[in-house]
Subunit: 461 residues, 2 copies
């Protein structure tokens, strides 16, 4: 029997768990400090809640749950007639009948469902955080898993740009606390729409966005070829060239845009929004975080309507893909029948953050949770005596273990060593008689003979 976890999924050992919890605790701590409240939603959602929300590509990556019990009984007869060759061609229709539930693909759509379903219990604006795994049937590769944790915050029910600014503040504080210098790239869908308008190709908004997004990777020539292929006129492409060729810092970019977009109303709105977010956030964040206007930033998800964020690590040699991202969506709950509610959110990818910290050796020493005192087991009588001492240490809040078997000394000491336990206690017949406790500090090598009260003081001090 081949023993492993399914492709793209992983076990987490105690050492990995301590580091993962460090990331989760840091992120949650910041979320709480900004007033976000926790919710959780089930791993499974009804398929109709998820399907059609992530585009065709996303839909394909959703893990579907086979109906339990008589899963073929309710299948329309015609779908199962005609033998294998014909049945195979009807896979997607058949899948709809085989499965009514699916694993969540992200936390945003389940959150939208939550908000609409519980709208009467919620006080808006609703600031929630959610830290849970999501599942995607993606091809696994470095930094991409089929099960991974997202740590999301969203503010829903407020149009104020203060929320966008807060997203940048939270991002800055999370990564400052984790000691990861980052660049927060900001763009605005309104700017992208205005660009499409001023070059005379408003309907080609998506094509232009996709092409701009690739500029860094494939260069101007290929982007132009792609735009032509997608049917954008030469005149429009000509007008786009100055934007593609422009380089400068954020202030220069904003100046350029003011001229480039001119009187365009959407454009002016977009410029005003990014300017306010950039300026106000800049004076509130630490100097470890770089804030940057990036006009080529598009992000795949269709539901964004205003600000778009993406965060990358500035540590050389670490993961180049984004470790956090989000944006403003004006009508996410509309898909569930509750229109005109605006929200803004950002998602932190815990697994990618782990890879960055691990790759750059940035995890601090993390031992506070592990066992502090280890009692050697010298036999039934001694162990029975030790149980009372162990109990007293635990009552004093000290994490303590007694080895369960009276195994060879070497085996017991290997256990203490491998589990990085700092204090080893030995209570044999001599100590039982004298009422003293032999203790060795494994870090310093110091040995002493103490009372239980002295032992507790020794460990806590």
């Amino acid at each position: 029997m081949k023993l492993n976890t399914p492709k793209g999924t992983r076990d987490f050992s105690p050492a990995e768990m301590v580091r993962r919890n460090y990331i989760f605790d840091t992120i949650k701590g910041v979320f709480k400090k900004y007033g976000y409240q926790p919710i959780e939603t089930p791993a499974m959602e009804n398929s109709e809640t998820l399907m059609g929300k992530y585009g065709d590509e996303g839909d394909r990556l959703i893990f579907k749950i086979l109906n339990s019990g008589d899963f073929l009984g309710k299948m329309p007869a015609e779908l199962l007639d005609g033998g294998q060759s014909q049945i195979v061609n009807r896979q997607s229709s058949i899948a709809n009948h085989l499965s009514e539930k699916a694993l969540r693909y992200d936390l945003t759509v389940p959150f939208a469902r939550y908000v609409v379903q519980h709208r009467n219990e919620i006080t808006f604006p609703f600031k929630r955080y959610q830290v849970q795994p999501v599942w995607r049937a993606d091809r696994p590769q470095k930094g991409r898993y089929r099960e991974f944790y997202q740590c999301d915050i969203d503010v829903i029910g407020s149009n104020s740009l203060l929320n966008e600014i807060e997203m940048v503040q939270v991002t800055d504080e999370v990564f400052s606390k984790l000691n990861i210098p980052v660049t927060v790239k900001i763009n605005n869908r309104k700017l992208l729409a205005a660009i499409a308008e001023v070059i005379g190709a408003p309907d080609a908004f998506v094509d232009i966005t996709v092409a701009l997004d690739k500029l860094d990777k494939i260069g101007e020539e290929k982007v132009v070829a792609e735009l032509k292929e997608r049917g954008i006129s030469d005149a429009s492409i000509e007008k786009l060239l100055p934007l593609m060729r422009f380089s400068g810092n954020t202030t220069e970019k904003l100046e350029f845009l003011k001229t480039y977009l001119g009187e365009n109303e959407t454009g002016q709105k977009g410029i005003a929004e990014v300017s306010e977010v950039l300026e106000t956030a800049q004076r509130l964040i630490s100097n470890k975080t770089v804030l940057e206007l990036d006009l080529t930033l598009a992000r795949g998800l269709n539901y964004y309507t205003g600000a778009i964020f993406e965060v990358r690590s500035n540590i050389e040699g670490t993961l180049s893909s984004s470790i956090s991202g989000g944006g403003r969506y004006d009508d996410l709950t509309g898909i569930f029948g509750m229109p005109d509610v605006s929200g803004v959110g950002i998602s932190f990818g815990a697994d990618r953050i782990y890879d960055v910290l691990d790759g750059a050796n940035l995890f601090p020493e993390l031992t506070s949770d592990s066992t502090q005192v280890f009692f050697v087991n010298f036999g039934d009588k001694e162990a029975s005596h030790c149980l009372g001492l162990v109990k007293q240490l635990r009552e004093a809040g000290i994490n303590t273990e007694l080895y369960p078997d009276s195994a060879k000394m070497k085996k017991q000491m290997t256990y203490a060593h491998n589990n990085a336990i700092q204090f080893v206690v030995m209570v044999g017949t001599d100590e039982m008689e004298s009422g003293k406790i032999g203790v060795k500090n494994m870090t310093t090598g110091e040995q002493s003979s103490v009372t239980i009260t002295e032992l507790i003081a020794l460990i806590n001090g």
Copy 2:
């Protein structure tokens, strides 16, 4: 569109999350104090890891994941030939081809897989804890959900009864901390096997166990009828009657068993084991917990070989089903090719514990994590000024929010009230000029005008 979570699954609101986290934190705190280390395994396992481990009934309740992509293409042609009427009869064979992965049914079998897969990285005895959801396609009812959290500890790789004793200590400490008085029922599979032997029906071990388990609910007469139906001889049943009719406390039960099981070797071993566990645990636990030998305790899972535990709340009117349970298994890793490793574990059902605490109004006041200070938003200029003050409070570790919109006062105060925020800060043009901050304690009604330093002291003190 009907908006809800799948049958038997639930959303958790912020208020519920705070209470759930109280349960998880309490349980994990005790686990750590006893030296257990955290691991996590993926939600999905390969089907072959799970199938066949929980009996036919369990297998039926496992949620299967539909293969992604071309899930019908690899199906043997003969399974899909013959039209719907014939195909429906081949459901279980078809399911095996449609699905290669499944959601975990408990934490014990994935843990056994983990131990065998990572055996070379683990120092034994391995004390691990694991707090994760599990999924079962059970019929939902009160106290029974399709997605629920288990909190498990196991010690694997040690035969010592000190581990059984520790299970009782941990149970006592968890429920003492949660303020739930409980009865810990203990039995031992060896006693059950010995009973079957001494009444001359060793092969009917399972039948007798199942029948004894029902004694409380259906009474002697029906149990006898059921035993007859299952082919147990009258002579055997006659010998079982004294046991079924015996009532007494734990000491009396042990005395009775010594006579009843006589020279039976398995029986003597069983008596010695439960005696040691009961006696030693009794002197280590608090007086809130009742320890009881219960010979009718069987528990469904076949893999137990020694001690069996089950925990029930002693609060009248709360859930009568078990809120925790476990036992000793001598060969769980054997199913994955690593024989002769003994383990013992116990599982705490967080969702049932929640229902008990909720039903008995035993949740303490839990507010430490929520927002402490709320800033009213009087307009753009005031809000911009407040951002700096809010930043200083957060830097002092105080959870603080500024309302994002300059909405009507009533709306903002309702928000603060509904989110149970204790301090409301008002900084209008007057305060901006004077540099003072108006603050109201919503609990006491006290109002004052303070500096930022005084405000921080006020909240932290």
